[in-house]
Amino acid sequence: MSSTPILRATEVSKSFENHRALDRISLEIPRQSIFGLLGPNGAGKTTFIRIVNQILAPDQGRIEINGEPLRQEHVHCIGYLPEERGLYKKMKVGEQAVYLARLKGLSHREAVERLRRWFERFDIMPWWNKKVEELSKGMAQKVQFITTVLHEPDLLILDEPFSGFDPINTELIKTEILKLRDRGATIIFSTHNMESVEEICDRIALINQGRKILEGPVDQIKKQYADHSYILTLGGKTFDPADIPGQDFQVLEHRNENGTAVVRIKLTGNAGINDLVRALLPHYTLKGLQEYVPRMRDIFIRTVNAQTALQS
C-alpha cells in the first residue's frame, strides 16, 4: 500500500458573496481509513465535500487525489452520498440505479450484474420494478447507498449516511462501511452523530467557521483531552467534598443517588490513584472505579465553543 494519501487538500479557500465558507483548509486523508469530517451546521463541511466532488471550484488551494491534481475523470473513483439526497420518483428502482451507475462509467451489463448482487444482499430485489415513490424512506436510502458504492470507488464520501435509518438498517450500513474499508476503500464520513464517530472513525478533522480546529486519530485526540480524572462510585454515606484532601485532588463533579454517589475527581498534585483510594476508604465503600475518557461529543462542544469565543 503506497503512502500517498488518497486525498490531500492544501490551503483550500472558498468564499460566497459575503461569507468565507472555507478558510485555508488543509487535510490529508490516509488510504484505507474512515475519516470523520466534523463540525457544527454551516461550518463548511458540505462546501468542502462539494469541492472534492467538483460541484464547486475552490477560490484558492489545491486538491489532489492519489497525488494527482483533481480532474473530471476522478468522479469515477469517488462515490458521494449527499446529505440532501433523493431519487426520481416516477422512475423504476432498477432502471434508475442502472442509470446512476452508468453515469459513473459502468457499462449496462456490469451495472445490472452488480446491482443484482447488492439488491439480493439488502433484500430489496422484489422492488426492482417498482417505482421509487412506492418505496419507504428506509428502502430508498438503501438504494441510494447502493448506487453510491456500486462503482467500487476508492474514495467514498458519505454525508450523514445514517439519518433516516432505523437501528437495524444503521447496523447494516455500518457493517457495509467497515467491510468496504477492509477491502481497501477510504471513507470520508461527515456527521453530527458523535457516537457513530467514536464507533467507526479512525481519524477526524473538526471544522468550525470554515477553519480546521482539530485533526488527528480518534484515540490520540481522546488521550489529548483526557485530564487524569477518575470516576468513582461510592456508597456508605452522602458524598461530602470536604472528605477529600484539597491539595492533591480536585472534585470536578459529583451527584448523589439513592445513597450512592458518583464523583469525578482529578489528580492535581503528585498523588496517584492509590492515594485517592486510600483517602476515600475511611469514609466510603468503594463500589466502582474507572478512568475518565472524554467523549467525542464533549470534545466537539468544548473546542467549538472555545474557538467561537476566540473569534468574537
Binding site: Y80, P82, E84, Y88, Q144
Partner: protein
C-alpha cells in the same frame, strides 16, 4: 460526451413512455384530421335540406317571380292561409311561406314542420329582397330588367407578383397568411410547451434532491444540455408523428369521402397540368377557359405550389429548433432558481414577454409583413423564431434570414452560457427565495 448521451436518453425515454405522451400524440392528429375533413363532409352532407314551399302571396309582388333554386322549390297558390295550415300535414310541403299585403310593414311568416336551416331562411330572405328591389327600381326609376342585369357587379382582384426578370406569379395572400400564422403559432406553442417541460424537469430534480447525486457524476452544464436536447427530441418526435398521423388519418377520411364523390376527368387533367407548371399565371387563365371560379381555385393551388418552400422548410426547422433551444436554456435557469412551480411566475413573464409580444403583434404583421417593425422583429433574436416564420411565406430575402439565423445562434450560445452559470448555482440552493439581485450574484460566482 457519453454522459450527455445517457442523460438525453433518460430524458427522452421517460417522457416518450408516459401515457399522457401517447394519448396526446394520437389524439391530436385525429383532431387535426377531423378539422381537415369536416368542411368537405359538411359540403357533401349539405347543411341545407330540400324545402318544398307553398307560397301564399297576398301582396301579389312575387307571383311569377319566384324561381326554384336547387334546394328551394316554390309553388304559389291562391288559397287562404287557414286552409293551407289545416291541410299542411296532409300535403307534401315542408313549409308554408305567407306573404302579407305589405311585406315591408308586416313581416312574412314561414310555417314549418321540421326546423329549416339558417341558410335556407337566409336564402329565402335574400330572394325576396332581390325581387322587391328589382321591382322598386323598375317602378320608381323605370329601369328595365336588362339594365338591372347589367349593373350587377362582381369583382375579384388577381394579385400577381412580377419579379425583376419579368416572371409573373399569381399570389394569394390568404395562402401566405394562413401558412405564416400556422407556422409561427406552431413555433410559439412548441417553445412554450417544451420550454415549460424543461423547467419542470429541473424543478423536479431539485425538489427530489437527486440533482446533487447527478452533478457529482456529470457537470451541471452537461445535465442542463442533456435535458434540453432530450426534450427537444421528444418534441420533434411528437411533431413528426403528428404530421405523419394527421396525413394518414386525413388520407383515410378523404378516400372514404371521395369514394362517394365523382370527380370529373377534366378537373383532374387541369390539376396535373397545374402541378407541372404552377407559377405561370397566364397558363392558369388559359386552363380555366374563362370560368372565373375555376381559375380562382386553380390560382390558389398555384400559389400554394409556388410558395418559397425551400426557405419555409429551412426556416421552420431552423427557427423552430434554435428558438426552442434559446428559450429552453432560459427556462432551465428559471427552474434552477426556484424551489416550487408557484415561484416561477415572476421569472416566466419577463422571459417570455418577447414571445407573447410577437404573438400579439401577429395580426398587424400579417397585414403588412414587410413593414419596418415586422422586419426588425424578425431579425431580433428573441422574437425572430416567431416573426420570421410569419414572414417567410410572403417571401423574405435570404440576407435577412441568414442575418436573423446568425444572430439567433449567437444569442443562443450566449444565453445558454449565462443560463448555465445561474443553473450551476441555483440547483444547489434550497429554501432561498431567488430575486433578480440574487441571480446577478450567482452569475459571478
Amino acid at each position: 460526451m457519453n454522459k450527455i448521451l445517457l442523460i438525453i436518453q433518460r430524458e427522452y425515454l421517460t417522457r416518450v413512455k408516459k401515457k399522457s405522451f401517447l394519448i396526446l400524440t394520437f389524439l391530436t392528429p385525429l383532431f387535426f384530421a377531423a378539422m381537415m375533413i369536416l368542411p368537405a363532409w359538411l359540403a357533401m352532407h349539405n347543411i341545407e335540406n330540400d324545402e318544398n314551399i307553398l307560397v301564399i302571396d297576398r301582396s301579389g309582388l312575387f307571383t311569377g317571380k319566384l324561381t326554384d333554386s336547387d334546394k328551394l322549390h316554390f309553388s304559389v297558390q291562391d288559397i287562404s292561409l287557414d286552409k293551407a295550415k289545416e291541410d299542411f300535414y296532409k300535403s307534401g310541403y315542408t313549409g308554408i311561406l305567407y306573404i302579407p299585403h305589405a311585406p315591408e310593414k308586416e313581416n312574412p311568416v314561414f310555417y314549418f314542420k321540421k326546423q329549416p336551416s339558417v341558410v335556407s331562411i337566409q336564402k329565402l330572405e335574400h330572394t325576396l329582397e332581390n325581387i322587391l328591389r328589382e321591382q322598386k327600381l323598375r317602378k320608381a326609376l323605370g329601369v328595365s330588367q336588362q339594365q338591372i342585369q347589367n349593373i350587377k357587379a362582381d369583382i375579384h382582384i388577381r394579385t400577381v407578383k412580377r419579379d425583376e426578370s419579368g416572371g409573373e406569379k399569381a399570389k394569394h395572400n390568404e395562402v401566405s397568411m394562413s401558412l405564416g400564422m400556422f407556422l409561427s403559432m406552431a413555433v410559439y406553442f412548441f417553445i412554450f410547451m417544451y420550454g415549460v417541460q424543461v423547467m419542470r424537469g429541473v424543478i423536479e430534480e431539485k425538489t427530489n434532491r437527486i440533482v446533487e447525486i447527478i452533478v457529482s457524476s456529470v457537470k451541471p452544464f452537461q445535465l442542463m444540455l442533456g435535458k434540453i436536447i432530450g426534450i427537444a427530441l421528444v418534441g420533434l418526435t411528437q411533431l413528426t408523428l403528428w404530421i405523419v398521423l394527421t396525413l394518414i388519418f386525413a388520407g383515410i377520411g378523404q378516400s372514404f369521402l371521395s369514394s362517394r364523390l365523382a370527380q370529373g376527368p377534366d378537373t383532374r387533367q387541369l390539376m396535373t397540368q397545374m402541378m407541372q407548371n404552377p407559377s405561370d399565371s397566364t397558363a392558369v387563365a388559359a386552363l380555366a377557359g374563362g370560368n372565373a371560379k375555376l381559375s380562382q381555385t386553380l390560382e390558389i393551388i398555384g400559389s400554394v405550389l409556388s410558395l418559397p418552400w425551400a426557405k419555409i422548410l429551412f426556416g421552420f426547422v431552423f427557427f423552430f429548433l434554435f428558438g426552442y433551444l434559446l428559450y429552453a436554456a432560459l427556462f432551465a435557469a428559471i427552474g434552477s432558481a426556484v424551489d416550487t412551480q408557484e415561484d416561477t411566475q415572476q421569472f416566466i413573464f419577463p422571459v417570455t414577454l418577447p414571445l407573447i409580444l410577437s404573438i400579439v403583434m401577429m395580426q398587424f404583421f400579417i397585414m403588412n409583413p414587410d413593414g419596418q417593425l415586422a422586419v426588425w422583429m424578425s431579425i431580433f433574436p428573441l422574437t425572430s423564431p416567431i416573426v420570421m416564420m410569419l414572414r417567410i411565406p410572403f417571401g423574405v430575402p435570404w440576407w435577412q434570414i441568414i442575418l436573423a439565423a446568425v444572430l439567433l445562434v449567437a444569442t443562443f450560445l450566449f444565453l445558454t452560457w449565462l443560463a448555465g452559470k445561474i443553473y450551476r448555482t441555483g440547483i444547489l440552493m434550497y429554501g432561498k427565495k431567488a430575486s433578480y439581485k440574487e441571480l446577478w450574484k450567482w452569475l459571478r460566482y
